[in-house]
Symmetry: C2
C-alpha cells in the first residue's frame, strides 16, 4: 500500500448526508459537496461513484444511524407509556433544535419516492423496520397487561410510525415547539399511554 486516503470516507459520507439532508438531492450540487466536505472533486467520484450513488449511500447511512438509537430506545425494559413518552419527547426535541432540517427520510421520500425506485425501496424498508420496532414494544406491553390481549397491534404500530412521519412535516410548517408536544401528547394519551 502506498499513500493512504487523506480523508476518512465514513466521516465524509456523514457530512455528505447532512448536506443532502439540508438541501435535498436536486438542490445539492457536486460543488456544494466538494466545498462542504473539503474533499477533492475527483476523490469524490473515485470513492463514491456518481451523485446518485453517493446520495443513496448517504440516505442508507442515515437510516443506519437512526435505526440503532431508535431500536434501542424502543427496546428499553420499562413500561410502554414511559418508553413511548421518552421516545417522542426526544424526537420533538430533535426536530425543534437549531435550523430545522426535519427528517431526512421523510424529506427524501416525499420528494423522490415516486420517481426513483431505489428511494422508494429504502423508504419502504425504513417503514417496515419502524413498524416492527413499535410492534415489538407493543407486544411486550400486551404481555405485561398494559394493553388488552385481543387488541390488534400492527395498526397501532403503523399509527405510531405515521405520527413520526407527520412530525417531520409539521416541524417544517411551524416554529412552535408546543405544537409538536401537543401532537405527541394527544397521540399517546389517546392510545392510553
Amino acid at each position: 500500500m502506498v499513500k493512504s486516503k487523506q480523508f476518512d470516507k465514513h466521516v465524509a459520507l456523514d457530512e455528505a448526508m447532512h448536506v443532502f439532508w439540508e438541501k435535498g438531492y436536486h438542490a445539492t450540487s457536486i460543488q456544494d459537496l466538494v466545498d462542504r466536505l473539503g474533499v477533492n472533486r475527483q476523490s469524490l467520484y473515485d470513492t463514491y461513484g456518481d451523485k446518485d450513488r453517493l446520495f443513496l449511500a448517504a440516505l442508507t447511512r442515515y437510516q443506519e444511524l437512526q435505526h440503532g438509537p431508535i431500536y434501542k430506545a424502543l427496546a428499553r425494559q420499562a413500561p410502554a407509556a414511559e418508553v413511548l413518552r421518552g421516545f417522542f419527547d426526544q424526537m420533538v426535541e430533535n426536530l425543534s433544535s437549531g435550523t430545522c432540517k426535519g427528517c431526512f427520510m421523510a424529506n427524501t421520500v416525499t420528494g423522490l419516492a415516486s420517481q426513483d425506485d431505489s428511494v422508494f425501496e429504502i423508504g419502504a424498508t425504513n417503514h417496515r423496520q419502524l413498524e416492527a420496532a413499535f410492534s415489538g414494544l407493543l407486544l411486550r406491553a400486551q404481555q405485561n397487561g398494559e394493553l388488552p390481549p385481543d387488541r390488534p397491534l400492527l395498526p397501532i404500530a403503523r399509527f405510531l410510525v405515521n405520527t413520526m412521519n407527520g412530525l417531520g412535516v409539521t416541524a417544517k410548517a411551524t416554529r412552535d415547539k408546543k405544537v409538536l408536544k401537543d401532537i405527541a401528547d394527544v397521540a399517546l394519551s389517546a392510545l392510553g399511554f
Copy 2:
C-alpha cells in the same frame, strides 16, 4: 383590446400545479412546463413572471383548491365521528389512487420550507387554516356532548393535522392501502370517534 390570449391562464396554472406536484420545484424545468402546458415559453414568462413566481402561484392555487372541499367536508352538520371518518376515508382514497403524488403541500414544505421564507409562510398558513377547520368541528362536537366539555381542543386539532401530514408521507413509502386505513382508523378510534 386586440387578439385575446390563446390559452386560459387559470387552466394552465392548474396544469403547472400538477407538474410541480409530481416532480417538485427543482426537478421541473421550464421546458417541462412548456411541453405539458402547451403554452409558449415567452407567454409563460409574460403571464406568470419567472419560475419562482409561477411555483408560488401554483402552490397557492393548490392551497385554495384544497381549502374549499376540506372546509366544507369538516363543516358538515353530522356527528363528528361520521364527519371525520368520511374525511379521512376520502383522503386515504385520494392518496391511494393512481400514481401517488402525495400531498403537494407536504412535498413542498419538507423540501423547501427551511430554505425559502415564502414557502414556509404558505405552509404555516396552511397549517393554521387546517387547525382552525378541525377546531371548529371539535367545538361543535363538544357542544353536542360528543366530547367532554373540559377537553382542550387545540391539541386534538393539531394531532389531526399531523395525522394528515403523516399520511402524505406514509403513502409515499408503501403501496398498501390497508396501511393508510389502519392509521386513520386507529387515530379516530383512539380519540373516541
